[in-house]
Amino acid sequence: MTARVIITAPTKAKKGEIVTVTTLLAHVMENGFRHSSTGVPIPRDIVTEFVARYNGAEILRASLYPAIAANPYFAFEFVAEESGILDFSWMGDNGFAASRQIAINVE
């Protein structure tokens, strides 16, 4: 199944405007320090990296640890300079990879 993602960002912005983006990803973020009810260790399964790009160049790149809550939520800002594509990608344990693109129209 494709990873479930909820992204909010304006579809339109004025040139030079500071734009806020929020992202929510469905992921257990199993921290690797827990045991099952029968005492068996539950292996770590987390998202280790998140990258946000604007027309191919990085806004930010986050390294993530088991202390990030389940279903990771991020909010950050960037400056709208020209119309284009915002690209978000998540990478993690066990080959986890998810990505989403949205368009922004800058006037």
Binding site: R53, A57, E77
Partner: protein, 150 residues
């Protein structure tokens, strides 16, 4: 079917296990300092500039929203390169490290974190001039009753 006795024995065993485990894998102020040094290369941390916003009292340690930022205008020489968050009591001291790229906007990152109990968190900002800035906040985590794994 599980009898009540089996259930209680199981619950007791689970509690004992998790206590031992937490002692075995817990960051300490020393471990946290080592993690910070790995980022700063041992440079001096100056209080100020960076700000950690987090509620002082939280009702569940599984998900606490927090924001690390360097507020105010930042000239090119002061550009924020990275923001980091550390803790002294979770199994690992690192929480996140954010590096800003060429398209970065204001230096500000919000996420939700886990806290294994009441402790002090440390936010660190790295600026383009090579300086490191720090903010420390103590967070009290309250305990819940009637949880799924007693």
């Amino acid at each position: 079917m599980t009898t009540r006795r089996q259930f209680l024995e199981g619950a007791g065993a689970l509690t004992a296990l998790s206590v031992i485990h937490l002692r075995a894998a817990q960051a300490t102020p020393v471990a946290m300092q080592a993690a910070i040094d790995a980022v700063t290369g041992g440079a001096v941390l100056r209080p100020g500039r960076v700000k950690l916003d987090i509620p002082p009292l939280v009702e569940n340690g599984n998900s606490i929203q927090c924001t690390v930022s360097v507020p105010g205008p930042t000239p090119a020489s002061d550009r924020v390169r990275a923001l980091h968050l550390f803790n002294e009591k979770n199994p690992q001291p690192n929480m996140f490290g954010v590096r800003f790229g060429p398209r970065a906007g204001p230096a500000k990152f919000t996420t939700r974190i886990r806290l294994a109990g009441t402790q002090t968190l440390v936010a660190v900002a790295k600026l383009a001039d090579g300086s490191f800035w720090v903010d420390r906040v103590e967070v009290v985590v309250t305990l819940a009753a009637c949880v799924e794994d007693p």
